[in-house]
């Protein structure tokens, strides 16, 4: 597969490099685990590496046949010049061009393949960490003329046309937070302010962290600095200017700012679909509540994966209404 146009920020990701934080390796990995898992379930390739696509996607030419699915809240995507649906396993022939033109709802989409991307893992993961230049495709975002290879695999034609309606996240702009490790080092008004005012996501936001802008600043009782300590995903650190930064997948492994809160797992899944200029509000929850929500979320995700796997689906109309080529490939048609 050749990259004809790279798109805004396209990287290879999987579930991240979790075991090597102690050696200074950032975790990286997909920002949205639910979308990632659904994408891989649709193409019957669980745990595989995918392309994580932000806002405007790449144009890719396939040099071999494959089956792909692009999972996003909504997007305009084309195979050659024909518009095709999101969240659907689509058969692609050698020579065809996939254009992920734009993500029209949400911020990130996941392109998964039935025949796996041939990416050499670095420390057990294919995830790209662009800041340190590690993993994925040469440790960086896609560029024009990059060439990917697929591993060979007996193709399961039954999955073509497999589709799934995403379980939409409720209140997408309300982000649950748990009291942070240095919660006591903030004035009471600041703790209330964090959940009472609306924040907008700054343009200087990326996979490392989302910088937020709120009308009023948060105030430390003492200082913004602490002895550097390991940073958990979702940590909301507050530097001296009083504007919070949410640390995400590409965060450094240790850091020395006070943290007022931690965004829950479910909150981070929502954040992955928010982009610069989007507005959000925080909501305090207890760690017990967060754990309950987390378990329910993972359970739902696993159920959805099972549903996709068990679905014997043959509805052609949604895939490519005019395509005889696909029709030929589906049994019973």
């Amino acid at each position: 597969m050749k990259c004809i146009k790279p798109g805004l920020f396209t990287t290879v990701q999987d579930l991240g490099r979790t075991k090597y934080e102690k050696d200074g390796f950032s975790v990286a990995g997909v920002m949205n685990q639910y979308f990632y898992n659904i994408a891989n379930a649709l193409v019957d390739n669980e745990g595989a590496s995918v392309l994580e696509i932000t806002m405007n996607g790449p144009v890719l030419q396939f040099n071999a046949s494959n089956i792909f699915a692009f999972v996003a809240l909504d997007a305009e995507i084309f195979l050659d010049d024909q518009q095709i649906p999101v969240n659907t396993a689509i058969y692609v022939e050698k020579g065809q061009v996939l254009n992920i033109k734009s993500i029209t709802a949400g911020a990130r989409g996941y392109l998964a393949f039935h025949k796996p991307l041939n990416i050499l893992p670095v420390l057990e993961s294919a995830s790209t960490h662009t800041r340190s230049g590690i993993g994925g495709y040469k440790g960086r975002t896609l560029k024009r003329n990059d060439v990917f290879y697929f591993k060979d695999k007996p193709v399961n034609y039954d999955i073509i046309g497999n589709t799934f309606n995403l379980n939409n996240v409720h209140e997408p702009n309300t982000i649950p937070i748990i009291e942070g490790l240095q919660f006591e080092q903030f004035e009471l008004e600041s703790k209330q302010l964090l959940v009472s005012q609306t924040y907008s996501i700054s343009d200087m936001s990326d996979r490392m962290g989302y910088r937020l802008n709120g009308e009023k600043s948060l105030v430390h009782i003492d200082s913004a600095d602490i002895i550097s300590e390991p940073i958990a995903p979702g940590s909301v650190q507050v530097p001296n200017n009083g504007q919070p930064i949410i640390l995400l997948n590409d965060r450094q492994t240790i850091g020395g700012y006070t943290k007022i809160a931690t965004v829950s797992f479910v909150g981070r899944e929502k954040l992955a679909q928010l982009k610069a200029q989007d507005r959000l509000q925080f909501k305090w929850i207890t760690v017990e509540e967060a754990t309950k929500e987390y378990k329910a979320y993972i359970k739902q995700m696993r159920q959805d994966i099972e549903t996709i796997k068990l679905k014997k689906y043959k509805d052609l109309s949604i895939v490519r209404p005019k395509s005889k080529k696909i029709a030929k490939l589906i049994k019973g048609e």
Partner: protein, 241 residues
């Protein structure tokens, strides 16, 4: 010891809130204690000056159950620390000239001769308090106060891998080529970080690093040995008395 849950999947263990070798010693002991469990629900253990972060699988295990099983309150530090070896990695360094272009700046700032700077810098065993910032980047403690030198006002865009530097009260080395603002006083030919090697990084938090002054000729010999795969890394490893 103070344990706090951060999120559904992470908790933090704090020791006394101060940077000193005794606290780091305790941290190292707790880390070994946790790692020796090889608990299936524990996904990663990361430590720093006074704290340890543990990531666990909250889908199969509860925080409460895990904490109970780890039995952290009952670690016997005294018997542990007596047995624990103190690993020192001695890194050969060429100081000054093109290897350490800022040796002059540190000497001038400290009002010492270059030789005195080299002696003071290579006399110490530096405790590795944490690894972070970049893969394999060690946060070291124990720099002689006389050598404290502020960072460069304008950071360099490229610092060669193996460069040894000073920034305020810190010293350390860049395991990988990187931009950076430290005053570079020397360079080691040893590839402390190598993705292709096992172990990938020659040290871990809680170990010590010391620097040994060598001549340019020895630098080149070591470099050649490393390139040809003949370098014996075990010769760098010693024990603190």
């Amino acid at each position: 010891m103070n344990i706090r849950q951060i999120s559904e999947t992470h908790f933090m263990i704090y020791e006394q809130n101060e940077i000193n070798p005794e606290v780091r010693d305790k941290i190292s002991n707790i880390v070994s204690h946790i790692e020796s469990y090889k608990h299936p629900a524990i996904l990663s253990v990361t430590s720093s000056y006074t704290s340890i972060m543990v990531a666990f699988d909250a889908t199969t295990y509860t925080y409460e159950k895990l904490i109970k099983e780890l039995n952290l309150q009952n670690i016997n530090f005294e018997s542990d620390s007596g047995k624990k070896s103190k690993k020192v990695i001695t890194l050969p360094v060429v100081y000054g000239e093109q290897y350490g272009p800022d040796l002059n700046i540190v000497a001038e700032h400290s009002q010492l001769t270059k030789e005195e700077v080299i002696k003071l810098h290579s006399d110490e065993n530096y405790l590795i308090y944490a690894i972070g910032f970049l893969p394999g980047f060690p946060f070291l403690g124990g720099l002689n106060k006389q050598l404290y030198t502020p960072r460069k006002e304008t950071p360099r865009s490229k610092i060669k891998s193996g460069s040894v530097g000073i920034a305020n009260n810190q010293t350390g080395l860049y395991p990988k080529e990187s931009p950076g603002g430290w005053q570079i006083i020397g360079r080691t030919p040893v590839d402390v970080f190598n993705l292709e090697r096992n172990p990938m990084i020659l040290y871990e938090a809680g170990d010590y690093i010391s620097f040994k002054a060598i001549e340019e000729q020895e630098f080149q010999e070591i470099e050649r040995e490393i390139e040809s795969g003949k370098f014996d890394y075990s010769r760098l490893v010693g024990e603190l008395n």
